[in-house]
Structure formats: structure tokens, C-alpha cells
């Protein structure tokens, strides 16, 4: 079953890069993009998402705060927080909200591995 994926990054180029990788890996999955936490939450109130890929470093609320809010709205959602800032505190906070930490720049390989884990956790081959 195709998944609904939310991509949140303040950089349009970063969203395009993630969309490109998603399109190569799972062209049949639905992608929805948002440039900040507010718009992401507005979208998440209207529709269901299986997966959210969140930039950590965004103006306004960061990717960790957004991850916690999305978790409240959709308890079953699979979350990844993406950043080049791999400080222990940030990686730990990501794990605390049940998110996987992925390094920026995000490679198609790393994204693919995360998506395989998600499929397995959701009981799909």
C-alpha cells in the first residue's frame, strides 16, 4: 500500500532533493511538502500521514518540536529528523520523541534504509 509522506524543510532545494530521492525509491507514494512547522501541523490536522521527514534547523519551531507535535496528532507516524548537527543532545532528543536521526545532506541510500525499517515496522515487506 502506498504511504503518505510529509516532507518539511524551510529550504525549497532540500525539499526538491528529498522529493527526488523519494520519487526514485517509491514513485507511487504520495508526497506532501511544507516549509515550516506551522504549515506542517495545519496539513497534519487535515490528512493522515504515515511518515514525516523533518529538517531539524528551521525558523520558528525546529524539527524536534514538530516531531513531538506530529507524534501527538498521529501516534503511529514514523518520524525522521534530518540534520548535519549530530550533537549527542540532538540525536538523543530525536530518539526521545521516537524519531530516527538522519544526517544531512540526506543520501538516497540512507533514506532508503529508513524507509525499509518503516515498512518492516508497519508490517509490510
Amino acid at each position: 500500500m502506498p504511504f503518505q509522506v510529509l516532507i518539511v524543510d524551510d529550504s525549497k532545494l532540500a525539499r526538491m532533493a528529498i522529493a527526488k530521492a523519494m520519487n526514485n525509491l517509491h514513485p507511487d507514494w504520495t508526497r506532501v511538502e511544507a516549509p515550516n512547522a506551522d504549515e506542517a501541523i495545519a496539513l497534519a490536522r487535515q490528512q493522515h500521514f504515515d511518515i514525516a521527514l523533518l529538517d531539524f534547523n528551521m525558523p520558528g519551531r525546529d524539527g524536534l518540536e514538530l516531531a513531538a507535535e506530529l507524534r501527538d496528532l498521529h501516534p503511529g507516524i514514523s518520524l525522521a529528523v534530518i540534520s548535519a548537527n549530530h550533537q549527542t543532545e540532538i540525536v538523543n532528543q530525536a530518539h526521545d520523541v521516537g524519531a530516527i536521526f538522519l544526517s544531512k545532506p540526506l543520501t538516497e541510500k540512507a533514506l532508503g534504509q529508513f524507509l525499509v525499517q518503516v515498512q518492516q515496522s508497519k508490517g509490510q515487506p
Binding site: 529550504s11 525549497k12 532545494l13 532533493a17 522529493a19 520519487n23 548535519a84 548537527n85 549527542t88 543532545e89
Partner: protein, 220 residues
């Protein structure tokens, strides 16, 4: 072409550059965290491209006191100067934050040069090395040097700058151990370097997102 349009980078080029410097300072934050053994907050809320005169004016308007800068020269496809600039009043704060704040004032003053050079080197290298790597180019960096003065001093270093020089001006927020320190990163380069940067950014955009038209309903 007018000066203004020669100065301009396209929206996606600015977006790409902002993304590159954010990745660069994020990596620098992770390196600094190892140095200070505490979480370091480092972000670039804004990136602008201005003329040298405008950069001097921005610094003159927002900072009436003296400035301290860590200065490094970079050479390669893009050649120029990188400056990490703090209001002078913030530089001792920065040293206190980095060293942990337990040291007596005379030690802090003694350590100031060294701590500034080290911190500046990590932040500037983080930015420039990331930009160079992601643009598939190499840059040679000089050793860090500490400068003091006003905006006009920092942007008039010998050899004299060319009339058309531009400044990539980044506003940075830096916080560690409950101390908030605001500063700037400035990359001063000449027109040929800006042209080279523009070309490299286009190649980077093509590599990163090539074939992906922005989604019709996606926000700008």
C-alpha cells in the same frame, strides 16, 4: 547590466547557498560541542548578498562599538576572505562560554586570542569546507588571524579590494552555556569569484534536485 542585477543571485541559488552554510555551521556546532563539552546552538537565520559598501554600512548601523574578527583567506575556484565578526563586547563572553566561565579575568584575557582563533577556525572551516565539498571543489585556507576595528577597517584589508567586490553576509546566532552571542560571517569576494560561485551553485542544484520540478502546489 546594472550593478544591482550583477549582484543578484536567483532565489534557488540563494536557497542552495543558505542550505550549504546551514549544513556547514551545523557541522561546526557539532565540532564545537566536542571542544566545550556542552550543547552548542549555532544557526544562520539569514543570508544576504551585498556590496562591500553595504556590508560596512550594516555593521556601522547595528554595531557602534568596536568589532573583533577572525580572518582567513580562501583560495581556489572561488577566492576571497572569510571573516567571523563579533561585537568586541561579545568576544570575552564568547571566550567565557567556550572555556566554561570558571577562569579568572586575567586568564580569560590571556586566552582570548587563542580561543577566538580556535572557535573562528572551526566555524569558518566548517562553512567553507562544506561549501567546497558540496560544490565538488577544493579551497585552500590560510591560518586564522584576529583583527580588531570597525566595519570599514575589516573590509579594507590590504591588498586593496576591487571596486566590484561583493560580500556574502550571514547573520549567525551562537549560544552555549546560557550565553547568547550574536555575530556575522562575511565572505568577501570579487566578481569573477561570484560568477564562479553562481556556476557551481547551478551545477549543485542540478545534481541535487535535477529533473525534479518544484511541486505545483508546493510553497515557494
Amino acid at each position: 547590466m546594472s550593478d544591482q542585477s550583477r549582484l543578484a543571485l536567483g532565489d534557488l541559488q540563494i536557497d542552495a547557498l543558505t542550505e550549504l552554510v546551514n549544513i556547514g555551521v551545523s557541522r561546526a556546532a557539532a565540532s564545537l560541542r566536542e571542544l566545550v563539552n556542552q550543547q552548542v546552538f549555532l544557526s544562520v537565520p539569514r543570508v544576504t548578498l551585498v556590496s562591500r559598501a553595504e556590508a560596512i554600512e550594516i555593521l556601522g548601523t547595528s554595531e557602534d562599538k568596536g568589532l573583533v574578527a577572525v580572518h582567513q583567506i580562501f583560495e581556489g575556484d572561488i577566492t576571497g576572505r572569510a571573516l567571523l565578526i563579533f561585537p568586541e563586547i561579545n568576544s570575552l563572553e564568547l571566550v567565557r562560554a567556550v572555556t566554561g566561565g570558571a577562569l579568572p579575568l586575567e586568564d580569560i584575557i590571556e586566552l582570548e586570542q587563542e580561543a577566538l582563533a580556535e572557535t573562528g577556525n572551526i566555524i569558518l572551516n566548517g562553512c567553507l569546507a562544506t561549501i567546497a565539498n558540496m560544490l565538488h571543489r577544493s579551497l585552500k585556507m590560510s591560518l586564522p588571524e584576529i583583527l580588531r576595528g570597525h566595519g570599514k577597517d575589516l573590509f579594507n584589508l590590504a591588498p586593496p579590494p576591487e571596486a566590484g567586490d561583493v560580500v556574502l553576509f550571514l547573520y549567525i546566532n551562537f549560544a552555549v552555556r546560557e550565553r547568547d552571542i550574536r555575530g556575522y560571517i562575511a565572505m568577501l569576494m570579487d566578481m569573477p569569484s561570484l560568477e564562479a560561485l553562481r556556476g557551481l551553485l547551478d551545477e549543485f542544484i542540478e545534481r541535487t534536485a535535477g529533473g525534479m520540478a518544484p511541486e505545483v502546489n508546493a510553497p515557494a
